[in-house]
């Protein structure tokens, strides 16, 4: 990838139909002196560019819908999403991510794929270990609680992936088509690593085989991988038949989903006091660190800037579909208040509102 002057822009055709001014492409043209602050150096003009990008992100319908959801629950509104609508939307989103990725994966050469894949696996093993040590040493959490939280931060949030995808589309930065494959790669290992750590530390834990099996056939992995396979097998012509549903409506559906997520996150926010200050800090700083590492590894692996931003966001995101279910079964003694509040109440909103444009800003350090 590094040899080619312009990175592949698989999604570009659909941008053309979008009446969005491709902000950053113009701004990125200038590439000159750098400003340094907090030992981070930015190109001149980058600060302005970043503010514009933050604004685009904050005022997107998705983020605003999330805020509306938080408001609805905080104000005590009787607005409630039927659980079936939530389930239906998440089936749709996971399948749509997979399908679109599969169509593009089919056109990816293995040569450009293996390095990012390895880096992703490294993240999936490294992040939970680092998180576990931090939570035990600095946070003084019990083994089970530390491992449970570590599993969530090592794994990945598919909706955060959808949000960063949408963000990059709005600011017209292309990224590799195989990123959904990395979502699938990153989702499972971290959970297994964290559970293994807990097991080594306590000795207990039966039903280990069942946990691995349930993770691999869990609905989120199954839909992602299934979508990837269908997309790859059916190709562009086949996918065109279902594109109005799986591409046309994607961002609208994401908006509805984030409305509901806002309501869920707001319920978790009520537990903020219970989880303590350390976890609040952890929920903000850990994604920052993970995001930076992800972007760095992405740039090492030869990803385009867009691809590195996505990988950084994936590393920064915390799971709330696969991990909670697996952890509840495998580590029942861990307190769900901790891991649910941290991942849903703190890290998810942080990434959605501030993190994503921030990872964009951080990426300018490497590109």
């Amino acid at each position: 990838m590094s040899g080619t002057p312009s990175p592949p822009s698989p999604t570009r055709p659909s941008w053309r139909s979008l009446p969005i001014r491709p902000v950053s492409l113009q701004l990125r043209a200038q590439s000159a002196p750098r400003l340094c602050a907090l030992s981070l150096c930015f190109r001149e003009g980058a600060a302005l560019e970043i503010l514009e990008v933050v604004r685009i992100n904050l005022f997107s319908p998705m983020v605003l819908a999330f805020v509306l959801g938080i408001l609805a629950t905080s104000l005590g509104s009787d607005l409630r999403f039927p659980e079936e609508l939530y389930t239906g939307l998440s089936i749709y989103l996971l399948l749509a991510i997979g399908l679109k990725g599969g169509v593009e994966l089919a056109e990816t050469s293995l040569a450009s794929f293996w390095a990012p894949a390895l880096m992703t696996l490294a993240l999936g093993i490294g992040i939970p270990l680092i998180a576990y040590v931090i939570l035990r040493r600095l946070g003084r959490f019990e083994v089970a609680d530390a491992a449970a939280i570590a599993a969530h931060y090592g794994s990945v949030s598919a909706v955060t992936f959808a949000a960063v995808q949408t963000f990059l589309q709005a600011v017209a930065i292309p990224y590799e088509g195989f990123m959904p494959t990395l979502v699938a790669l990153l989702e499972v290992p971290a959970i297994l690593v964290a559970l293994l750590v807990a097991r080594l530390a306590t000795g207990g834990g039966d039903g280990w085989g069942a946990v691995i099996r349930e993770l691999l056939i869990g609905k989120s992995i199954l839909l992602l991988l299934g979508g990837l396979a269908i997309g790859a097998l059916t190709g562009k012509a086949g996918f065109a038949q279902v594109e109005p549903l799986f591409v046309g409506l994607f961002r609208g559906a994401l908006t509805l989903f984030l409305l509901e997520m806002g309501m869920v996150a707001a319920r978790r926010l009520r537990d903020l006091r219970r989880v303590g200050r350390f976890l609040i800090g952890f929920g903000v700083l850990m994604p920052l660190a993970n995001g930076l590492i992800g972007i760095w590894l992405g740039s090492l692996a030869g990803l385009s800037q867009g691809g590195a931003i996505v990988l950084g966001t994936l590393a920064a995101s915390a799971s709330y579909i696969a991990a909670p279910a697996a952890v509840r079964i495998a580590l029942p003694q861990a307190n769900p208040s901790y891991y649910l509040t941290a991942s849903l109440g703190i890290t998810f909103p942080f990434n959605l509102a501030i993190g994503i444009p921030l990872y964009y800003a951080l990426s300018t350090l490497f590109y």
């Binding site: 659980e83 279910a325 509840r328 003694q333 769900p336 208040s337």
Partner: protein, 100 residues
């Protein structure tokens, strides 16, 4: 109408326990079950069901001995870590042998 007096055992549990509980009910001697989705609150704070979905309400008609066994099993295996309650009620059924 000839009826038999059995125990109707009801379990309210987090949704993540579905498969496990149904498997264990069967192995403890229940010949059937009926299950619905419910929401609830109790003395335990947040549990995974807050995110992963609702509670389950599982009912099974069993003999008093099996009821006893189920209640002991659930109390021992689930009370410490999970949001679960269990209770039993006397019920009159037709076709008693079906449930034994």
């Amino acid at each position: 109408m000839q009826t038999t007096r059995l125990k109707l055992v009801t379990i309210i549990a987090e949704a993540v326990l579905e498969d496990r509980l149904l498997r264990e009910l069967k192995s403890l001697g229940a010949r059937g079950y009926t299950m619905g989705e419910v929401r609830g609150e109790g003395t335990r704070g947040i549990h995974a069901s807050d995110w992963e979905g609702q509670n389950l309400r599982i009912e099974t008609l069993v003999s008093p001995e099996v009821a006893e066994r189920i209640m002991a099993h659930v109390a021992q295996h689930y009370f410490p870590d999970f949001a679960v309650i269990i209770y039993s009620v006397d019920a009159e059924v037709v076709r008693g042998p079906k449930y034994l």
